[in-house]
Symmetry: C2
Subunit: 325 residues, 2 copies
Amino acid sequence: MIKCIIVGYGFLGKRLARELAAGKIAGVKLAGIASSKGYIYRADGLAHEDLPERIDRARGFEEAPASEMIRRELADLLVELTPTNIESGEPGLSHIRQALEEGMDVVTANKGPIALAFEELSSLAEERGSLLLYEATVGGGIPLISLQKRCLMADELLSLRGILNGTTNYILSRMHFEEMTFELALREAQMLGIAERDPTLDLEGVDTALKLLILANSLMGLRKKLSEVKIRGITKVTSEAIAAAKESGMTIKLIGVVGENGLSVAPRLIRLNDPLCVHGTLNAVNFNHRILGNLTIIGEGAGESTVSALLNDIYEVVRARSRRL
Amino acid sequence: MIKCIIVGYGFLGKRLARELAAGKIAGVKLAGIASSKGYIYRADGLAHEDLPERIDRARGFEEAPASEMIRRELADLLVELTPTNIESGEPGLSHIRQALEEGMDVVTANKGPIALAFEELSSLAEERGSLLLYEATVGGGIPLISLQKRCLMADELLSLRGILNGTTNYILSRMHFEEMTFELALREAQMLGIAERDPTLDLEGVDTALKLLILANSLMGLRKKLSEVKIRGITKVTSEAIAAAKESGMTIKLIGVVGENGLSVAPRLIRLNDPLCVHGTLNAVNFNHRILGNLTIIGEGAGESTVSALLNDIYEVVRARSRRL
């Protein structure tokens, strides 16, 4: 039985904890959950009724840092779900590093550590014989990383293009279909909870750039840094520009590209007929392979769907461990 | 070193043989190729220059049935690529059965045996500890089977919808965009080699039904037969019907569905904005999962791209065998 701890107890953490406590993954026991306030831990497993709304009011609450619980004697698997920090990657980076050093496996949805320290963390995992799985960092539940690593191993990935941010895609879709201004579409997205109160990272293309970096480094063996991604956001996209595109059967989307000219994120013209051209909060990635040619995969890039990616990664940990025994 | 034989030496067989002879998959040696005329076999491997245009004119040609070569002492892996026969599944069915009984692994692009005898063949493979991989039977190189089996194991597949036949999709796309009649679009498709001289199985929806059956039985654990699929083809779709759909931002596509009401294939209205709504010869499948929600995957469903699926399946055989050692 694999003992799993979840660090980061927001929307994703709570939703995942419920699935694990309900025994949705055979062979995995949820032993602990942590927020920034502290943690609760029970070696024989937390049941559904043990899952609190707030950790600091739960029975057995320890007012201590999560790092206290990230120890091989206490758990086999860390699921790291603290908020993304794009400057330092913390606290996720330290949590993941600690777990890998302890010889634990790690599953994460935290873009920061994977985008900023992919090489360090993947080398560390390999050195310790641990698994580091991060499907949930890009495109929510859409299997992008595992698709390439488990289904398309014999082909050669030459380039990719992606719509990787639901917030900006929602805004651009409203501008296209409802002929709204950027400001109005943004306000609507904020009211609906699609855009955050401070939407800067999304609008300026930084969120897309982080995800692109993860895809490029993990799938194409590159060693790029965020500073090497050319980034332009959507704040300068006008209703007029979109209307003009529309007249030619096209629109404007925020597209990240990994190709011959490196990594870039920018608003780009795209044909409405292009399979990559998805609307609303959908995400889509188009891969170009040597033999297969173009393959496009589309789904919800955030929210509930991300729980699916976490569960699939956890399942893979169970599968890999059972093989090793 | 895994010794591989290819039975069926048409477009796919030749293209795959070139990749294997060029050593594109480490750990695999191409030992033999067979057509309906006979075979050539060389235990130490066929090199690129040994690959003939026609087998019966090659050095070392044996005028004997391929079954003579499907033996454990001669090969570890059969790649079965004979033409699809939807009545009996032959000769592919006998080839695959023989290989599995010999304890060989099997990779195939042949829809017949997998659609008609999935239960028998998959049980036989399990019993003998052999692998039976058939990604190439549906959607060309688009990873549909492996996507579900290797990337989405922890989620639950509830239903699926697919555009699974490039010929009919080409015809319907031309009718939509160029306002052609069905007859004209069909003639054009035949001239371009997109439709076969006898396109009945495609136009009547039978090809789509076979593929739908493979997806339903292998991914959703159903035990359906071809006779249980409700099938209606596209021969009755008129320009007027498509024009009317177009006025409402929709079109008509030949869509296969596996859902609460069983399996069906029929021309259906679909919104142009729906990610599943792809054009030309593209194929697309939309999966609906319990947690992930909707996921759509799009690519070329025939030709060159199918070679990618064969190579990925062969790669998986190498990976699985290396684990067993």
